[in-house]
Subunit: 345 residues, 2 copies
């Protein structure tokens, strides 16, 4: 069995090495066959490793003094003379030294570095970001959640293909069911892009397209994959996280106040804990950038160690299942089928 090698942008995110390095170390305890490149400022990374007395041989530091922040314009990632930790992590994937990379850094920069260094897969116009949405009964994949603010119908179709492949690699029974996010389920609802995408999907026998779905379908277990443009998807995941935050703050406020309500809180603590753990966003951290010739995982920038470890875990899984190759195969199948159909006409 060959080691899975993952490149980690150690400087990305709000907390940098204080989150990324402990997260990487926590995974080394459970995974014997992984190896990490920690990319970033060597003295800072080394200080973190020394703090816990790490002396193993499963980590290599790739030094760069440059880093990008969320405030930097994404194009800055491509400055040749100042290779940031984010850029160099993607470069390790390009050079086949790493099977996937993870960054909590600037999303736009990560997309740009991905397209520039890895390129998109044949048949895919632009990469999309995928989020895992926790439902009451099962999870659901949502894409795009922020890479493309405006999407043509053809792109929405490609998202459906990529989402199906990822869902199936994550254990969903083939064929994964796909819905198109809309403001109603009636045929006449929605904008032109969505309606055109619907007709493209209806014509494609290789995708298990089930029709329009509304926002609540993300959580009801209706479909395995939900497709939308990146503006809608981004607002959706952030507003859903906002609701969870309201619930959490209401639960917290109940734990203060009168002695009676404190006692009550104490007794109901296990219940609340179970509720919070089910809706804990940490376990859904790590969004795949799909459609590139290589695997990139984006972590939330404010992720803590637990959440960042989940993102690294996603990178390991994605590297091991070779998602880009699976997507390329599926696209080739669909293009092949449609060429046969055209030839038959």
């Amino acid at each position: 069995m060959i080691e899975t090698r993952i490149a980690i942008d150690a400087m990305g995110g709000e907390y940098g090495v204080s989150v990324t390095v402990p997260a990487a170390l926590s995974l080394l305890r459970d995974h014997k066959m992984v190896f990490f490149y920690l990319v970033g400022d060597e003295p800072q990374i080394r200080a973190q490793l020394e703090m816990v007395g790490y002396t193993g041989n499963k980590i290599e530091i790739i030094h760069t003094p440059y880093l990008l922040t969320d405030k930097d314009k994404p194009t800055r990632a491509l400055r040749a003379k100042e290779k940031s930790s984010l850029y160099m992590a993607v470069e390790l994937v390009k050079d086949k030294l790493a099977g996937a990379c993870v960054s909590a850094g600037n999303t736009g920069a990560l997309l740009l570095a991905g397209r520039h260094l890895l390129g998109t897969l044949p048949g895919i116009d632009k990469p999309a970001i995928v989020a895992v949405i926790p439902g009451a009964s099962k999870n659901c994949l949502l894409l795009d959640v922020g890479a493309n603010v405006d999407c043509k119908a053809q792109q929405l179709f490609q998202f459906a293909v990529m989402g199906s492949v990822l869902a199936e690699s994550m254990g969903v029974m083939q064929p994964a069911s796909v819905g198109l996010l809309n403001i109603g389920v009636e045929d006449y609802k929605g904008n032109e892009q969505v309606r055109t995408a619907a007709s493209l999907l209806e014509q494609c026998s290789s995708i298990n397209y089930t029709g329009y779905v509304e926002g609540n379908a993300l959580f009801s277990g209706t479909v395995d994959v939900v497709v939308c443009d990146g503006f809608v998807g981004n607002v959706t995941i952030k507003s859903s996280a906002g609701v969870v935050e309201v619930v959490n703050s209401l639960l917290r406020s109940r734990m203060q106040g009168s002695l009676a309500s404190k006692l009550l809180s104490l007794v109901s603590f296990p219940l609340i804990r179970r509720l919070q753990s089910r809706i804990n966003p940490a376990q859904y951290n790590g969004a795949s950038l799909l459609g590139l010739q290589g695997s990139i995982i984006k972590s939330h920038s404010n992720a803590g160690s637990e959440a960042f470890a989940y993102a690294i875990q996603r990178a390991i899984t994605e590297a091991e299942s070779a998602i880009p190759r699976l997507i390329a195969q599926r696209v080739a199948e669909i293009v092949g089928v449609s060429m046969q159909q055209e030839a038959a006409v």
Copy 2:
């Protein structure tokens, strides 16, 4: 003091008269100065009234045998020979017999009837639907949530004006703060419509525009009004409702199972009840269609009596505060200011 007269589409929604009539009667108990037109099938409405033995003089039945369902194409609302209960309820507003109307019927049809019968206010291109979003610390208005799938920058600007007026009429200290929904707070984020709307809002001194906000801001109490196109807004409210449903179903499932967990649920019941009542969607039922020369309130089609009563309550409040007139005044002020600015240049 003059009576507030409200027209109610008694047939709209999934449950028709079995929800609308009891909801109307429940409000008559508390409001001495309201009068309802119940529009729809007279025998059905009368049967409901007789069931509770209503003999008062605060209700008038306006009979029509025609009704629209959610499956009907909205344009069907305008068929002159088959005036539906929805259409006739709006007509009562047009004829100044009612100060506002309420319907749980077909949203598209309601918008079309509103534009056809009432017309939009001067300076407003198209009406928008407003939802009240319950936050942890305070409520927030979101518009548009479904009337306009594609919006020009100028429309988003108009939504900001209308949302400010409505928020202030609902008790928010003047000037209400307004955010533009986007996928990030940086200047370069978003699509062209949103960026152009931002520059229009920045130039307008009559609106307290605070900049871009992300999805979670809807619940965090950051701003009083959030503006977006109807596709984004619709998906947002439905996905947020989906999260609430997940939380509710998790809470319900905890109340089953072992004796220990049943006992636990019993003890923690008051806590859960308080949580559920805070996130109870019923109390936020009743979305205003803003921008018309008259007040129309849209109820969820699956609203129960309690929720439909909240929608009627919104109609009463909106009729009493004469929202369309307030919006027209604000628009005139803004146009006046910008004309003065142009003259000064």
